[in-house]
């Protein structure tokens, strides 16, 4: 087994709570949820906005997945095009390599992208298409990078897909370019995908402390900037353990120090900014960061006051993947919201430890079990609100539980100081909405009889 895969199978990396060295549990047929590795690879690479992303396989992998994420672009939108080789029966029988080659040529000719990412899918992996060879040959022929992403859905989880995408960046992109001479070098943001424009809030914040972003990996990125990521002075891994391997490898290859951080909550944001300045080893910058964070925190605390009053003592159940669990807990705690239940389904031991550091003893851990398990916790713990991914949104609505979407598809940016304020507002609006009372009261003619199914 190649090292990357081996890594996935050790419990530390794959995210199970099982004791070390036990293999990652296989998804349970009939009870599995969540996307495939192909999905994961796309999550990581699609935010490279000016590149073309071509899916090699039958239509559904691409057709069912394009435009499904809330990652925003400040300019080019080629990455929002859905490209697929759309294989048919006969392509499968005679092999799809010719069609892949033609598709690459076609896209290069018509859209002139700086690079093309080519994704394998289950079927093309199964029939043994030599994607690497086709890509290499095409790159030589057309003179732009054509990058194979070998992450077919059936190799594993979404997380593994993130990692395989990171691997493709290491192997084919990072280190292949040099920044323009006047570029101000600073920090790579790894694993920040500009969901709902969060990246923009963060970048603004960093810039006002005088910290430059070297490469965005990959939120609202341009292909070129990732080629020179190896020139950054610090790597920050934002809420994504899946790309930790990328940071580690860049440390050993290029000597770039890294740290893991988050921008959810004022405290975490301040910590992350400080950490950047510290790792850059720049006293002046540290002072600037201190001044900025003090000012921002003071302003935020003013603005938060009315919301804090309303939110104090409210109880929330939080169900989100991996790292976000602990980072969002910090944000909620700052608002006075008590987390009474938290999902640990995709968390690593490290994450769980961090969760434990941040919540009280009476918080319930929800290891798995999907919607019914979450709802049970909400009911038993008398939670006021559920914070989870879009998949569970309408389940919560059916149960008439106030809900906030925290995952990839959401439209609200919660990162940084501004983001915390936004989160406070959203929580307040959601809890105060008149619908909860209206929905709970029966029609006048039903007042006598109990409503059905309760």
């Amino acid at each position: 087994m190649d090292p990357l895969r081996q890594d996935e199978f050790d419990s530390q990396a794959c995210g199970s709570m099982a004791p070390k060295a036990k293999p990652c549990p296989r998804p349970k047929p009939g009870e599995a949820a969540g996307g495939c590795s192909f999905d994961g690879a796309q999550i990581t690479l699609l935010p490279i906005m000016d590149a073309a992303h071509l899916v090699h396989g039958p239509i559904a992998c691409a057709g069912n997945s394009w435009e499904s994420r809330g990652t925003l672009s400040s300019g080019p939108s080629l990455s929002q095009y859905g490209f697929a080789t759309d294989l048919t029966d006969s392509d499968i029988i005679f092999g799809g390599e010719k069609k892949l080659k033609d598709s690459i040529d076609y896209i290069a000719g018509r859209f002139a992208p700086p690079a093309i990412f080519v994704y394998s899918t289950c079927v093309t992996a199964l029939i043994g298409e030599d994607m690497d060879a086709v890509c290499k040959e095409a790159a030589d022929r057309i003179g732009i990078p054509v990058i194979p992403v070998n992450s077919p859905g059936f190799v594993g989880s979404k997380n593994l897909g993130n990692r395989l995408a990171g691997d493709a960046l290491l192997q084919y992109v990072i280190g292949t370019g040099e920044p323009e001479p006047e570029t101000d070098l600073g920090v790579n943001l790894i694993g920040e995908y500009n969901i709902a424009g969060e990246m923009w809030d963060i970048e603004k914040l960093m810039n006002s402390a005088g910290i430059a972003v070297t490469s965005r990996i990959t939120g609202d990125a341009r292909y070129k900037e990732i080629t020179w990521a190896h020139r950054a002075r610090v790597n920050m891994v934002v809420c994504s353990r899946a790309l930790l391997g990328l940071a580690r490898e860049m440390e050993s290859r290029y000597g770039i120090p890294y740290f893991e951080g988050s921008f959810y909550g004022a405290k975490e944001t301040t910590y992350s900014l400080r950490q950047m300045a510290y790792l850059m080893n720049d006293r002046e910058m540290e002072r600037r960061v201190d001044r900025l964070t003090e000012r921002e925190e003071a302003r935020l605390s003013q603005e938060l006051r009315p919301y804090r009053k309303l939110l104090r003592g409210k109880r929330a159940v939080l169900y989100t993947g991996g790292v976000k669990s602990w980072s969002v807990i910090s944000a909620l705690k700052e608002l006075g919201v008590q987390v009474v239940g938290v999902g640990t389904n995709k968390s690593t031991e490290d994450d769980v430890r961090r969760i434990a550091d941040r919540v009280g003893d009476d918080t319930e851990y929800i290891p798995e079990g999907g919607a019914s398990r979450i709802i049970k916790t909400v009911r038993e713990r008398k939670a006021d609100i559920m914070i989870a991914g879009g998949r569970n949104m309408y389940v919560a609505m059916k149960e008439q539980i106030p809900f906030i979407d925290i995952n990839q598809e959401r439209h609200k940016a919660y990162a940084g100081y501004e983001g915390l304020l936004r989160l406070a507002k959203e929580l307040t609006y959601s809890l105060a909405n008149p619908i909860w009372k209206l929905a709970a009261s029966p029609a006048p003619w039903d007042k006598e009889a109990p409503p059905y199914d309760r």
Binding site: F83, I107, C122, K398, A439
Partner: protein
Amino acid sequence: MTVNRRKKPASVNPMKIGQSLGAVLALQGCYRAMPLIHGSQGCSAFPKALLTRHFREPIAVQTSALQEMDVIFDANRNLEEALNLVLSKHRPDIIGIIGTELTDVAGVDYQNMLKTYKRERNMRGGLAFSVVLPDFRGSLESGFSSTVESMIDEMIQQVGHRGQRSMNTRQITLLPGSFLTPADVMELKEIISSFGFEVIALPDISTSLSGHLLTGFSPLTRGGVPLDSMLQSLQSGLTIAVGGSMERPARRLHNAIGTPYKVFEGAMGLKATDELLHFLHQISGEPVPLRYCWQRENLLDSMLDAHFQFAGMSVVAALEPDHLHSVSGWLEELGVEQKALITSFETPLIAGMEREVWVGDLDDAEVLGKGADLWISNSHGIAGAKRTGAAFMPAGFPVWNELGAYMSVSAGYRGAMEWSNKAGNLLMQREAGSRESSVRHR
């Protein structure tokens, strides 16, 4: 007239949707059902997310969660495990096993496995069937109709052994096509029952994906046609299929148990609705209810009001085959130019159309529909419509940029009126917008 394809190797901005998603959709219209996709995780996660996004409802679906080695060695072990778990834990009334391109290419024979499974466990009472739906053929529409066909097949087999069929001439089985919204299915049920018929819709998404406040979470479907009604539908005196794709399931019923059937290619626009109501009037002997006479006049009046808006306008429409056929008929009545019609795959209905139709994607819509004033497609078309400067009207699947899209009606006179007004308003706004900007620029 002709069906064309633009020559290009890759699909750019696809509108085609995997067949298995159509199967999952069909099963949402059956009560206490569980679609089980035999494939890798992503093949169920993507459709689930997409259907949730469109209908804004929880969607029931499970997967056999194949991983690389399972596909190569023993994919059926996963399926068996999944079946065991779903059956013991949730006790569904209906379970539909959906084969994917992955099991197809790997040559997995799960149909035999299912037979043995059912025999060994002496499974009775429920409905368990399988359907083969690789993604390199067809689209949402064909996945949906094939699933209904397989479902009917299984029903017939189950009941078939129990002797004579008693026929109920006052009962009609409605086979609504995949392009109909929950509100459309409701509208059709109402229209048919207003002539004194009992209607059993198969499947019936009007009671499962239309929004309800049933509490008590279940991973199974929470609405739709219950199994006993499904089986009872075999006693219907007539089948009404809406959409060309539903002819095959209707024919299946006819061939197996002799139920006569009538296919309506669409139910959109004045003529199509006239035809439906006239037919119902004839077979029931009942007069057309007054409210439809009113609605017919309302529709005609609103078309008169709106015709100024449509004069000289052109439209590009990219929709699934049956839907495109319906919409094209309605556009005909509005008198707009149909600049380009694009669909996801070729069907007999499409091949028989009098207009030129292109099999392709939303990029084709952009190129061929250049200069059109109105763009009709699923929400993936927003960007293309913007680039070509057309007003965008969401329709089909998936629609995520509009609240309540799944409750919009296109069927009947009411539906035609709603659509005509909507399209007219969009054109009016666009005109106002361009007038404003031309003033500003001066």
